[in-house]
């Protein structure tokens, strides 16, 4: 596991973030810092505001209050909510990645796997077909998809392969921060295990920072350095993953941890 430089500036700094849907408070008073190379897990039951929080962090949704400050490569720390839309979208396709729960939302199903991986490269100006294709093949290999299937459309892929393809598509521009929403949802356990193994390898090798939303505590334990437990839109406990899972302090976290089935 790579070491984290605690003297570095945080990559992402979230201050008192909140989002309301009318009278309904989806999440509120969320503050945390994420350092380069760190993986943060957000756990909690359905409806606890995890996905809303992730959408606010990744600028998919405009939060009702608070600030999200990202350490951009060029301009240093900036509030993403005060960026222009074009800057945010550029960030989204270069420095950030977004892996969705349902790979069909994150992939272009009508075009081949190679084009899916190459899309971000073309979006930032790559105009050499041979190079784009070579890079796509390279990434398919990294996510353990047979290179022979580079010209197949993703709808002919299995769920696990689609999810791996989605990851390759996001990582091809070497982002520094990846948001993942239930990356292993809907996959059977053996496929989950391989995907987790792959993710862990990639995160460590590339020094990525990641924010992973999951309701699966096993996934959180394997991937996350640090955990945030959410309930009713609030963060009830946060700390190092092992600490939170082995010595839960908040009654809700205790309930969550004790609910895991032990086979």
């Amino acid at each position: 596991m790579m070491t984290i430089d605690i003297n570095a500036a945080p990559l992402l700094s979230v201050q008192n973030l909140g989002k309301d849907y009318g009278n309904l408070v989806a999440c509120t008073d969320v503050s945390f810092d994420l350092w380069p190379g760190e993986v943060l897990g957000i756990v909690g039951e359905s409806g606890s505001g995890k996905t809303t929080l992730l959408n606010c962090l990744s600028a998919q949704l405009a939060p009702s209050r608070g600030a999200v400050i990202y350490d951009t490569r060029v301009d240093g720390p900036r509030d993403i909510l005060e960026m222009t839309e074009s800057e945010r979208r550029l960030l989204m396709r270069t420095d950030w990645g977004l892996v969705r729960q349902n790979p069909r939302d994150g992939l272009r199903l009508g075009v081949s796997a190679g084009a899916n991986v190459g899309e971000r490269l073309m979006a930032v100006g790559a105009r050499h077909y041979g190079d784009i294709r070579a890079e796509a093949a390279n990434w398919l290999q990294k996510v353990e998809i047979d290179v022979g299937r580079i010209d197949n459309v993703p709808s002919t892929f299995s769920g696990g392969m689609q999810q791996r393809l989605q990851i390759a598509r996001n990582l091809v521009t070497e982002p520094r921060l990846v948001f993942m929403d239930e990356p292993t949802g809907g996959l059977d356990v053996s496929v989950q295990a391989r995907l987790l193994d792959l993710l862990r390898g990639l995160v460590t090798r590339l020094g990525l920072s990641a924010i992973i939303v999951t309701h699966d505590l096993a996934v959180a334990r394997l991937l996350a350095h640090r955990l945030m437990v959410m309930r009713h839109g609030r963060v009830v406990e946060q700390g190092l993953t092992d600490q939170v899972l082995d010595d839960p302090q908040h009654p809700y976290t205790q309930l969550l941890v004790s609910s895991i089935l032990q086979p």
Binding site: V111, S112, G114, M122, Y129, I150
Partner: protein, 292 residues
């Protein structure tokens, strides 16, 4: 109403003056922002959508008493669509019509650019079925508008990539996307990509009207128009092994015509005026006859 055969009870060029004014505003804006799709209040026309309602409205708004109109459909002056639109304007305006490219001041076209290079002072009006080049890649109009606004055109190359991955070359052969003035991605209407190079730096004004989609866009004279491509798969136009069977031309866009039920075929110029012009000059192909 100068012409004896013009219809009674209709305004000049069918549309009322307020509508023509509204369309001219849209055209002026389109010329000011080359390649940008300007929304306009498209009117019901006395023919169905898909038959050239956009082109007709543009033509109707800019045609004047002194204009000479030529109408072509797939390059030909004598096909149903061309004949009826020409007839429509002859009856509602009484202006002169012609089949000769060089004597026309206003040319309405469906799916072709005439072979003879257009001159300053001429206006070419295209009929456009689907003005949005990104439509098949992004179904949301809100999103495509945003992509145009922010010049996010990477996804267009995804389509070209897909072509090469499947067919070994860029197989898109018509409605080939172009970049206008280095800023806006534009669909040149379904002209063959053979005609794309003619759009670049054309001395004539090019106007595009999409009636159903209610959009007008334009390329002013002498504007840079580039066809998209990859560095290692450059843009190229169609080529034929045959020449035109009637006039022997090797530099024009050829239509394949089946001539019997035993596999017989011939290739002829799709631009009928160009073909006739060449034959009048004494050129002839394998199936044609020399002019007397």
């Amino acid at each position: 109403m100068s012409h004896a055969q013009t219809l009674e009870g209709y305004n000049f060029a069918y549309l009322d003056e307020q509508t023509k004014r509204m369309i001219r505003w849209a055209i002026l804006k389109a010329i000011a922002v080359p390649g940008y799709q300007v929304p306009f209040g498209s009117r019901e026309m006395p023919l169905p959508y898909g038959w050239g309602t956009g082109g007709i409205q543009v033509t109707a708004s800019i045609i004047g008493q002194d204009d000479t109109l030529k109408v072509i459909d797939q390059g030909a002056d004598d096909t149903t669509n061309a004949v009826s639109i020409r007839h429509f304007f002859a009856r509602t305006t009484g202006v002169k019509t012609t089949e000769r490219t060089e004597s026309a001041t206003l040319i309405q076209t469906r799916h072709r650019i005439p072979e003879r290079p257009l001159q300053e002072g001429q206006v070419l009006v295209y009929q456009v079925p689907i003005p949005e080049p990104l439509r098949w890649l992004e179904p949301r109009e809100t999103e495509t508008r945003k992509m145009h606004a922010l010049a996010e055109y990477g996804v267009m190359h995804v389509k070209l990539y897909e072509d090469i991955a499947r067919f070994g070359r860029i197989a898109t052969s018509y409605a080939y996307p172009v970049m206008v003035n280095g800023r806006y991605l534009m669909s040149p209407s379904p002209i063959p990509k053979f005609d794309n190079p003619k759009m670049d730096n054309m001395p004539a004004l090019q106007l595009f009207g999409a009636g159903r989609e209610k959009r007008i866009y334009a390329i002013p004279p002498y504007t840079k128009v580039e066809s998209l491509d990859f560095d290692d798969h450059p843009f190229e136009v169609q080529k034929w092994d045959d020449c035109c069977a009637l006039c022997g031309a090797q530099d024009s866009y050829l239509d394949e015509v089946i001539i019997d039920d035993a596999g017989g075929r011939m290739f002829v110029c799709s631009d009928t005026d160009y073909c006739e012009d060449r034959r009048a000059q004494g050129h002839y192909g394998p199936l044609g006859q020399a002019a007397e």
